[in-house]
């Protein structure tokens, strides 16, 4: 009787140790391969981490579905915009000739680009769906320069892990990992359906990544910062949205 319970105790102890060290190992491996999102803390951290880790493993190289031109939505719905700031209106009055995108952080050569400079680089386009977390969607042709091209120009340090992007809208910023930053469909987007990107849709410059929800596609981008840690940005959870309780990774 005593023997049995002792054996049981030892076996349970061994199983618990194996389980705990297995979990610790999994956590370390996940950290090493960039499978832990910055908002992994709190009661919803488990769900956020499972979603991000599994989708990173499944979708690292997958391409968002592209549609034929005939499927472009005739009336793309621009979501609600916060009132435009005075600074924005001033730049808008000058047809955004003075708009600058600055790139800094872990790069060999920090730089700053005008919209016409960005347009002088090889332009790419894709006809993809923009999907809002609320449930609605539309398809448009998005035109821009791949973010990877701009990152290549400034020379990203090999230890870089994230790109933080900041909007001209107050308190609006977000970040993506290098898997998304270097993804061929991730654009600094300045055109839509053959025209300039309308202000209502984030013109003159918007982040466009079709494998994540709409709110990750931040409008009015003015600054990129390349970094190896998101801890020093805001509250350290990766974006203004996740500070407000919305998930950082929204491949969902």
């Amino acid at each position: 009787m005593i023997d049995l319970s002792r054996r049981k105790l030892i076996l349970t102890g061994l199983a618990a140790t194996a389980g705990a060290s297995g979990l610790a190992m999994a956590a370390r491996l996940a950290q090493k391969y960039g499978l832990v999102p910055p908002d992994h803390g709190g009661i919803y951290g488990l769900g956020e981490t499972l979603t991000f880790a599994s989708q990173r493993l499944l979708t690292r190289h997958s391409l968002a579905r592209e549609f034929p031109r005939s499927q472009i939505s005739p009336r793309p719905f621009p979501n609600e915009l916060a009132p435009l700031t005075e600074d924005f209106k001033r730049l808008q009055a000058g047809s955004f000739a003075e708009w600058r995108l600055s790139v800094d952080g872990m790069v060999a050569q920090p730089a700053s680009f005008s919209i016409s400079e960005l347009k002088s680089y090889p332009s790419r386009s894709h006809i993809t769906e923009l999907v809002c977390e609320e449930g609605w969607s539309y398809i448009a042709e998005w035109i821009g320069v791949p973010l990877s091209h701009v990152l290549q120009l400034v020379g990203v340090h090999p230890q870089a892990k994230y790109v933080v992007y900041v909007s001209m809208e107050p308190d609006t910023w977000d970040s993506i990992d290098m898997a998304d930053a270097l993804h061929p469909q991730t654009f600094l987007c300045y055109g839509m359906n053959g025209n300039e990107l309308p202000v209502a849709h984030g013109g003159p410059l918007r982040m466009r990544l079709p494998r994540q929800l709409g709110y990750k596609n931040v409008k009015f981008i003015t600054r990129l910062t390349v970094t190896d840690s998101l801890k020093k940005f805001g509250k350290g959870v990766g974006s203004a949205a996740s500070e407000a309780g919305y998930a950082w990774y929204v491949g969902i």
Partner: protein, 261 residues
């Protein structure tokens, strides 16, 4: 010597009395531990998914068919409820507070726990014979006569027979099989088909459903079907005896079995 002998007798008496009660304690439980634990984990997840699903839904209570849809396109139908977004035309003069942040986080976390628990249940159900023994109806039961009595009895609010306390009738079996093998897989599939990242890796998962908005609409209807199942399920539990049936799903024992001894 004497005391030793009497002690022996008491021990024997104890053993024989424990033998006589043995059939009660060794009866297989009405529901196995795994079925009971997974039942209540999935119950908790279901309520979390339902509450948060409703919260997410009210941010856009319009449904479409095909690939895309938004407030500038014609909906398939619209729920006449207020919305948590100002840009949705609802006809109500007010906007509900936005609860989508935590609702979405809890929706996906509960979905993960429900799916992993469901997988454990499904795999063990295959190996233990739970599906074959407890849920698949026998060929003989699949006749109109047996089916119609199993439908008519609860409609007359008749309490189930003693025999039915330890097993499921054909209607219950068909319903559980439909919920476990059709509705649950469908609600998971249509949920995944809404994920822009998942469908980038598995585009057929959404094209087979006729587009992403179709997937969202089917997700809604399957959820409604699951809520209807829940209502009928709880009604039937109440009809059969709420305390004994809920007790059986918690402890594994049934009151009916105790009466037999």
């Amino acid at each position: 010597m004497e005391t030793l002998e009497s002690a022996q007798i008491t021990v024997e008496a104890c053993i024989s009395s424990s033998v006589s009660t043995a059939p009660v304690t060794t009866l297989p439980p009405r529901h196995s531990v795994l079925v009971r634990v997974t039942h209540w984990i999935i119950t908790l997840c279901f309520f979390a998914l339902l509450l948060t699903g409703v919260e997410i839904l009210i941010s856009h209570p319009r449904f479409y068919w095909g690939e895309t849809g938004n407030v500038l396109t014609t909906p398939l139908f619209q729920l006449h409820i207020p919305s948590s977004r100002a840009l949705v035309p609802t006809g109500y003069g007010y906007v509900l507070p936005d609860q989508n942040g935590w609702s979405r986080a809890l929706h996906f976390e509960a979905a993960w726990i429900a799916v992993l628990t469901g997988l454990l249940y499904a795999i063990s159900g295959l190996f233990t014979g739970h599906f074959r023994k407890d849920l698949l109806p026998s060929r003989a039961d699949l006749s109109w006569r047996v089916l119609s009595t199993s439908i008519a009895k609860p409609l007359r609010f008749e309490r189930p027979s003693e025999a039915e306390a330890s097993s499921y009738n054909v209607l219950q079996r068909l319903t559980y099989v439909f919920v476990i093998f059709v509705l649950f897989p469908l609600v998971i599939w249509t949920g995944l088909a809404l994920s822009p990242a998942f469908i980038s890796a598995f585009p057929a998962s959404v094209t087979l459903l006729g587009g992403r908005q179709s997937a969202r609409t089917i997700h809604f209807f399957v959820s409604v079907a699951l809520v209807l199942f829940l209502l009928v399920h709880v009604t039937m539990v109440c009809l059969a005896g709420f305390r004994s049936r809920t007790g059986a799903m918690i402890t594994g024992r049934t009151a009916a079995r105790k009466e037999h001894t």
